[in-house]
Subunit: 203 residues, 2 copies
């Protein structure tokens, strides 16, 4: 079996990345998230090994220094990372993986995965709309929203490093685009070659 | 505006190429066939400039020798070709083009279009099924079907030169795959870059 595909999805806050990523993983058989590692404490309702692998700082540093993460970062004093061997095990078993990560994480993967990975950036339809969605979500006060928007503007310029760009104006249409990227990837020669050779006895 | 995309669809007889190509062109706005040139006589119901551009042998040879075709071939003593300037005019105007052509035509395009083109091969689910479909279509006698099948086997081995391979086991699923290739292509950075730069004022 040929190795499965790795989809990297990045976006500024408020673009709809988590919603679209969850929809895609729900929709496709054989498309999964890789469970991340974190040093932060579990929140109410979070299960170890399901939402995150919760580990302590010492273990995290050990994994980081031995190349155990394909990408990792520190956010608000907590560490987050994607385990290299977990990711490889999924891909080698034929499971496509979707990583929902920020632009810095995506840059690390670009550097460490040797050309593997399909890079997808999700954009809000405008800066204004991005702010309006954050406001509607109701998790941040105005000052926090302003800070998130500043961050968003900086991140948006990175979209031009990505292979695919989805302008998330309409959720249904954006989901069609995300699905099409996954299904087209699964229709590539690399992915069907062994089946084709078997059916038609090609060498 | 960035140049539109060129989709090349090849398949052996009985794989379902024409059906799928027509469905795709019907489905998408801005996806069209390029009208081919031919030296054969119009059949009942065929309109010049719509189904084909009907031209005489002298004109065809003149176009062929001056590089006026991106691909051309002779089939049963008649000539068929895809006009270079027609194709370029469509692409430059932002219209995606689907060319439904055989493997020899696809090879000529690969050689003459400098890396442009998304190459898609449609396979029957088996040689047997390919024969059964030709039989069911009722256009050929058993001897002609046998000859078509021999040709199909030779063509099938060329599928491994194509970027995408659709095994047409189920028409609905195959159509989803073909649509996904078109929509994913339209979501590529190259295709949305100018819009993104305009919305977010990026340079």
């Amino acid at each position: 079996m040929s190795r499965a595909s790795l989809f990297i999805v990045s976006a500024p806050s408020g673009a709809g990345k988590s919603t679209l990523s969850n929809m895609a993983v729900d929709h496709f058989d054989g498309l999964e998230f890789s469970v991340s590692y974190t040093t932060r404490d579990p929140r109410e309702g979070e299960t170890d090994g399901v939402h995150y692998n919760f580990i302590d700082k010492a273990r995290f540093d050990e994994m980081a220094s031995s190349g155990g993460f394909v990408e990792y970062a520190s956010v608000h004093g907590n560490n987050y990372g994607t385990g290299r061997s977990d990711l490889m095990a999924l891909l080698d078993a034929g499971t496509d993986v979707l990583l929902d990560i920020d632009v810095q994480g995506a840059e690390q993967i670009r550097a460490s995965m040797e050309g593997e990975g399909i890079f997808i950036f999700i954009l809000p339809p405008s800066i204004y709309e991005c702010g309006a969605r954050l406001k509607k979500r109701g998790l941040d006060d105005d000052e926090a929203i302003e800070m998130r928007l500043k961050g968003a503007v900086a991140e948006i310029s990175k979209c031009l490093d990505y292979e695919f760009i989805i302008i998330n104006d309409d959720l249904k249409e954006s989901f069609e685009r995300l699905k099409s990227i996954v299904l087209a990837e699964r229709t590539r020669r690399r992915r069907v070659e062994s089946k084709v050779k078997e059916i038609f006895n090609l060498s």
